[in-house]
């Protein structure tokens, strides 16, 4: 486990700003699972919040128009995690109504009387996916094949720089709690943990004071303050910390009676159920020393980075050398600014040359720092050795598939070996060997 300088910076204290795009690029794939079925075609007029594609299978998710306007094109576009993927390009009408007008507004009493399946279908219809990073369709997570007893709400936000979850927890504490209420009801859990790191004590305070009002049907909810370290927010590690249960290798949290939901996902669940509001926007942290001013923006899904710079919503004070979608530990470095924000984008970082460590890779001295920090208890240095030698079958014996690619090993390596790079190469090689 690692302690990293958090660099959460001034954006931690700034209110989230709202941004409306002139163009959106909405990839069909923004979640784990199969591609949804497209319901619109080029030149169709779409309205803000209208469904564009519906789930095609059990594990799939709907996507919605995040701007009113015309579908200009459906084509392969840059994708932050898949590199290239099919996307809809929608140009927003000049005077499209800025605000999402909810078709329904449900009262608390109404929501309390709804059945679980009704709640789940609302969540599914809104295209809610896990907003912490993996983008697993939320309705699937809320219908576990086994009974679960514990809900863990993940407010750790352990990656440096990122503060979007923190701002959401500060600005929308009540809404998040209402979302948690809904999830807890669907899952019929008897314990709810809200896990927050000790560098976000203000959020802890807000949750505690709201919970004390007893307004919420969350008798078993407990805010747990965790000492901040990386990767605290990783699912398996968080479950182990809170419940001492170990998710079996290759298994999922429900195997040990747990479901983990990110705070932002809880917020989207609240919006889906109370307002029928689809997942068309999210809070994204924009930070890094190339920016004049770091910000948290409530931003429409599909907004292209370039537009934010052209419209000077973001300004560079220095030239960025690296643009990262996600946090610095697990994020993806991109080759241009022509990439859209997708549902799972927590942050975009603009790093200058001074932020980067470009020291060259040297020989492994077997110091074992990677072993000491590995949250999965693996031997990362062995992966490098075996990949270099091409001993693919041995990689399995060292459980390479268990690696969550958190980057702790690469961070702490004094020889500057890009361990995650080797691990990814090893995993890919094994996958292709399995196929043939």
């Amino acid at each position: 486990m690692l302690r990293i300088e958090e660099e959460k910076g001034p954006q931690k204290n700034f209110y989230t700003q709202k941004v409306l795009p002139q163009k959106v690029v909405i990839p069909l794939s923004q979640h784990t699972g199969s591609l949804p079925n497209l319901l619109v075609k080029v030149k169709d007029k779409v309205k803000l919040g209208e469904i564009l594609a519906e789930p095609s299978s059990l594990i799939s998710s709907a996507i919605h128009a995040s701007a009113s306007g015309e579908v200009k094109d459906i084509r392969i576009y840059n994708h932050p995690t898949l590199k290239k993927a099919k996307a809809l390009v929608i140009s927003a009408e000049k005077n499209s109504s800025e605000k999402f007008e909810p078709p329904y507004i449900r009262e608390e009493s109404q929501v309390k009387n709804m059945e679980s399946f009704e709640l789940i279908s609302l969540i599914k219809a809104s295209g809610v996916v896990g907003l912490g990073g993996a983008g697993f369709p939320t309705q699937v997570k809320l219908s576990p094949p086994k009974k679960v007893d514990t809900l863990i709400v993940n407010g750790c936000e352990c990656e440096p720089y990122l503060t979007c979850d923190y701002r959401l927890m500060i600005e929308h504490t009540e809404s998040i709690l209402k979302g948690i209420e809904i999830i807890a009801k669907i899952l019929e859990v008897n314990k709810v943990y809200i896990a927050i790191e000790d560098n976000k004590l203000e959020a802890v305070k807000r949750f505690n004071s709201k919970l004390h009002t007893k307004k919420y049907a969350l008798p078993s909810a407990e805010v747990v303050v965790l000492k901040s370290f990386y990767p605290q927010g990783a699912e398996k590690q968080l479950i182990y910390r809170l419940t001492q249960r170990k998710v079996p290798a290759g298994g999922l949290p429900f195997d040990v009676g747990c479901v983990v939901q990110n705070v932002a996902t809880c917020f989207s669940v609240y919006e889906a159920v109370y307002f029928n509001k689809p997942l068309i926007e999210r809070v994204v942290t924009f930070a890094g020393s190339a920016l004049e001013e770091p910000k948290n923006l409530l931003i429409r899904i599909g907004t292209v980075l370039e537009e934010l710079l052209e419209r000077e919503i973001l300004k560079f004070k220095k030239e960025p050398k690296k643009v990262i979608f996600g946090g610095p530990m697990m994020g993806v470095a991109l080759d241009s600014l022509d990439y859209p924000i997708i549902k799972t984008t927590c942050g975009v970082l603009f790093l200058t040359e001074e932020d980067l460590d470009l020291r060259e890779e040297s020989n492994c001295i077997k110091c074992g720092r990677c072993v000491d920090v590995c949250p999965m208890n693996l031997l990362p240095l062995e992966f490098v050795r075996l990949v270099k030698k091409g001993f693919w079958s041995e990689l399995k014996e060292f459980y390479i598939s268990d690696c969550i690619e958190c980057g702790s090993c690469g961070f702490s390596c004094p020889a500057k070996i890009p361990l995650v790079n080797y691990i990814k190469a090893g995993k890919e090689k094994l996958k292709s060997l399995n196929k043939t």
Partner: protein, 308 residues
């Protein structure tokens, strides 16, 4: 705008190998100073000879193989100094130089350079000298004696004439012995720095401490003439090995449990060799033997991944 695309993580720790090695040099400083205090110019010259042997052979080797110079990683410097610290002060300088060459070439480079070697390079150098020049390697002098009065080491006095050196002298270093092995205080200061700064892992030293303590404790209870726990810890190369040899990352196991076990077995072996072998001291052989077991220990102590 040209953007760099590489795999995560995009943030890395500040330190690198060069920095870590410099920290080890800082850790060695008190030991080097103590050796100079006790053995004066002899210490200075022997350290320089070993250093030159190590550094020159490293540079020549890399040039012959047409590879970039590796002096900047300081590992040859550390090997040279460590070698000098385990040699007797009266040793002819050319022998020290030769030891430095052997340490680097046979101890490290033939295996493929930094990170690839199986045995601790400085100890390989010493083992070679021990085999080639046994008499020179076992003639000791009294500290502070400019005319080099011959004197046996505390372990030799214990082993061959059942004579015990006062613990205070062992602790401060006012005894005969290798350059850097005499002063327990200096070694604990420098080694403690490395452990507190987390440059060296604490598990192997703890293991060695326990291994030596347990075994020497048992022997002491049976017969106090076998020497007390503190006598064994403070005499010979035990502490230097504990802080600067079993903590060498390259030649010791990489799993946490493995590091501890490595130290533990080194500790056992030291006491066994001191008691049962023909030589009074056994630290060098203990560590070299255990170096050979490192791959096996690594295999047997593979940690269990979370959820397996």
């Amino acid at each position: 705008m040209k953007l760099i695309v590489e795999v995560s993580p995009h943030k890395k720790a500040d330190y690198d190998i060069c920095w870590l090695m410099k920290q080890v040099l800082i850790g060695l400083t008190p030991v080097v100073l103590a050796s100079i205090i006790f053995f004066r110019m002899r210490a200075v010259l022997l350290i320089i000879s070993c250093l030159l042997g190590a550094v020159i052979s490293e540079e020549v080797w890399m040039r012959l193989r047409k590879k970039p110079s590796s002096l900047r990683d300081y590992s040859a410097v550390i090997t040279g100094i460590l070698l000098a610290l385990v040699l007797p002060p009266k040793l002819p300088l050319w022998v020290g130089f030769l030891g430095g060459v052997v340490s680097i070439i046979l101890g490290k480079q033939v295996f493929g350079g930094l990170g690839q070697n199986i045995f601790n390079p400085a100890l390989v150098g010493r083992a070679f000298l021990m085999a080639a020049f046994p008499v020179m390697l076992t003639s000791w002098v009294e500290p502070f004696s400019l005319d080099a009065v011959t004197k046996a080491t505390p372990l030799a006095l214990w082993k061959f004439s059942k004579e015990f050196t006062p613990l205070k002298d062992l602790f401060l270093g006012n005894v005969a012995g290798s350059l850097g092995e005499t002063s327990s205080l200096a070694i604990i200061l420098g080694g403690g720095y490395l452990i507190i700064r987390k440059i060296a892992d604490w598990r192997a030293p703890l293991g060695m401490f326990l291994g030596m303590s347990i075994l020497s404790g048992i022997f002491y209870l049976v017969n106090p003439l076998q020497g007390s726990i503190l006598f064994h810890l403070f005499s010979g190369g035990a502490l230097l090995g504990m802080f600067f040899m079993v903590t060498d990352p390259v030649t010791t196991p990489s799993s946490k449990l493995g590091r501890f076990l490595f130290g533990l077995f080194c500790g056992f072996l030291v006491i066994i060799l001191r008691k049962f072998s023909g030589l009074p001291e056994g630290v060098m052989y203990s560590i070299l033997i255990m170096n050979g077991f490192t791959p096996l220990i690594n295999r047997l102590t593979k940690p269990k991944p979370l959820g397996r």
